[in-house]
């Protein structure tokens, strides 16, 4: 669910607690772990003056707080929208805490509006400049019914079994909802 630090940050819109998100580098010699190998290799590279390794992670937090007036008006999630979301996502969060958390999460994401995206095409896959591989039309898989059926708790004669839905206004809600309790 929504992570604790997101909730904390959205409350204050201040830079995150140093332990959250941004790696801070330990002091040179006093953080060699018990196993020894990985950390010492890493600190060795840090100390080497002609090391080609260059961390993309900033050495200090680079956040700047985003002022409230830079953000669009806060979104309120109406009870109707809560119902619709509960139905689509099969999640129970229709209590004050749940709605609060959702609105805070939206507020946190509102910070994206500060970025100017004029003339920039949205990216929907990091693979956008890769070639889509096309496979030959041959049979290479299947014939593992037993293996797959073993994964299910309850099967009937080589069929998987699904329970009927509780909301029987339309028979398409064929699965149960998961309840979601959020602790902030």
């Amino acid at each position: 669910m929504f992570c604790k630090c997101a909730a904390r940050v959205s409350r204050a819109l201040r830079p995150a607690h140093p332990r959250c998100g941004v790696l801070t580098l330990p002091a040179r010699s006093d953080t060699v772990s018990a196993s020894g190998t990985s950390w010492s290799r890493w600190t060795y590279k840090r100390e080497s003056s002609n090391s080609a390794w260059n961390s993309k992670v900033p050495q200090v937090p680079t956040w700047e707080p985003v002022a409230e007036n830079q953000l669009p008006p806060p979104t309120r999630v109406s009870p109707d929208l809560v119902d619709k979301l509960e139905r689509l996502a099969l999640v129970d969060f229709g209590n004050k805490e749940g709605v609060d958390c959702l609105e805070k999460a939206i507020r946190f994401a509102d910070q994206l509006h500060v970025v100017n995206t004029d003339g920039v095409e949205p990216m929907d896959s990091v693979l956008e400049d890769r070639d889509l591989f096309l496979r030959d039309d041959t049979i290479t898989e299947g014939e593992c019914a037993e293996e797959l059926l073993h994964l299910a708790k309850h099967t009937v004669e080589e069929y998987f079994v699904a329970p009927p839905g509780k909301n029987n206004n339309n028979k398409n809600t064929i699965t149960k909802k998961t309840s979601c309790s959020i602790r902030t």
């Binding site: 139905r87 689509l88 099969l90 929907d124 896959s125 990091v126 693979l127 956008e128 400049d129 890769r130 070639d131 889509l132 591989f133 096309l134 496979r135 030959d136 039309d137 041959t138 049979i139 290479t140 898989e141 299947g142 014939e143 593992c144 019914a145 797959l148 059926l149 994964l151 009937v156 004669e157 080589e158 069929y159 998987f160 079994v161 699904a162 329970p163 009927p164 339309n170 398409n172 809600t173 064929i174 699965t175």
Partner: protein, 409 residues
């Protein structure tokens, strides 16, 4: 008041393996035997696109005069249903592989039904998408049995503009589409076997006024039923409106436009105009080239009919009947009577033979018989479909239904 009909057609791609996995595509097989780890949505599995399915979509788009999108994208459509284990279907909602086509079809008018009228319907788009598994509802034990053999099979969804007015036009359009798909080899288009699924969006209105509320007509397994069901629905809506009521739209929750997101595991799909336009870095064996596929297009039914009329001087309405006898094209010197006898196309009217065939089907489908006996009469349609399949459509559905109903009760 007139009817307005728009069709959404799902055509199962005739390929050896599925759209995104290497499991076999086959109609009859033991439950869950044609299912790979990806089809079962096991974590860590990824979709790998089948080139044959892309070619099938391009061929179909070309035959229907579509613009082929050189770049198309895949999306996820999320909804919950037991026969779709991933919780989403991979489809092409934003930018499909083909758009803006035309299906030209003809039907017979006039009292003697011998006047051929040519019509056309615009095709909004053709998109590649996954089929779902099959669910068998066992109402008695309140459970649903799931068979994933069909999950992940490639489909071409053809969306037509709502330009038809009645069941007859819809039926004629679907029949022509079946012939085209069969000629292309991209889909066997047998409605009884679920290879071609037609959903009709039906509404009524007075010409000039805004369109009325749409309802969907679904789960039809023959062209004849489709025409009847559409006409029945048009009639029903007209009666509702004429008596002052309103038409209720019972669209399912997951038909809303929400629940879409781009498919992050698949880069954009590129197809190329000609060999020359394939960029240097692309493996030629990988590339789907439109020009190359164009040369593979067979003679389409409409062209065949025109050729028949012009070459042999037959009546236009007879050319329709003849095109259906595909044997003609393999051996043009054969006579019709000879072909009908060889292909065994005469109707089966012998009552004993019909009984035998029906008994065979009933005996080989004990599960379905149980379900019918428990009250789900709709499954009788499946048995009827089996009889039609076995007899290659040479039986009178009314007679068959009567016999099956007696046998099952």
């Amino acid at each position: 008041m007139v009817g307005v009909v728009g069709l959404e057609i799902h055509a199962q791609i005739q390929s050896t393996s599925k759209l995104f996995s290497g499991s076999h595509v086959r109609f009859l097989a033991p439950p869950n035997s044609l299912v790979s780890h990806f089809d079962a949505s096991l974590p860590g599995t990824l979709p790998v696109l089948n080139r044959r399915c892309v070619e099938a979509a391009v061929l179909t788009g070309l035959a229907l005069n579509c613009t082929i999108n050189k770049k198309s994208l895949f999306d996820r459509k999320h909804y919950f249903y037991a026969d779709m284990p991933a919780g989403y279907q991979i489809t092409q909602q934003r930018v499909p592989i083909a758009v803006d086509g035309i299906l030209v079809y003809s039907h017979f008018e006039g009292r003697k039904r011998n006047q051929v009228v040519t019509k056309s319907v615009k095709i909004k788009q053709i998109q590649l998408e996954q089929d779902s598994g099959k669910s068998l509802h066992d109402d008695e034990r309140s459970q649903t049995l799931i068979d994933l053999n069909r999950a992940g099979v490639g489909l071409m969804e053809l969306v037509m503009e709502p330009e038809m007015c009645c069941g007859e036009e819809a039926a004629a359009a679907v029949r022509e589409l079946q012939l085209i798909l069969q000629a292309l080899g991209t889909c066997q288009a047998n409605m009884a076997e679920g290879q071609l699924r037609v959903d009709a969006n039906v509404s009524v209105h007075r010409p000039g006024e805004p369109l009325g509320v749409r309802t969907e007509v679904k789960n039809i397994n023959s062209v004849r039923h489709l025409a009847k069901a559409i006409d029945y629905e048009i009639q029903r809506q007209m009666e509702v409106l004429q008596s002052g009521g309103t038409v209720l739209n019972e669209t399912r929750a997951f038909d809303s436009k929400s629940g879409f997101m781009p498919e992050p595991n698949l880069p954009p799909l590129f197809v190329y105009e000609s060999e020359a336009s394939v960029p240097g870095g692309v493996d030629p064996a990988q590339a789907v080239v439109i020009d190359r596929l164009s040369t593979q297009l067979p003679e389409l039914p409409s062209v065949k009919r025109t050729r028949l009329v012009e070459t042999h001087g037959i009546l236009q309405e007879h050319s329709f009947t003849l095109v259906v006898f595909q044997e003609m094209w393999k051996a043009p010197e054969k006579k019709v009577g000879q072909i009908v006898k060889e292909q065994d196309l005469w109707m089966i009217n012998d009552k004993e033979e019909l009984q035998k065939i029906c008994q065979r089907v009933v005996d080989s489908h004990p599960e379905e018989v149980q379900i019918i006996r428990r009250g789900n009469k709709k499954v009788l349609n499946k048995l009827m479909g089996e009889v039609q399949r076995e007899t290659k459509g040479r039986t009178d559905p009314v007679k068959v239904r009567a016999i099956l109903e007696k046998m099952v009760s």
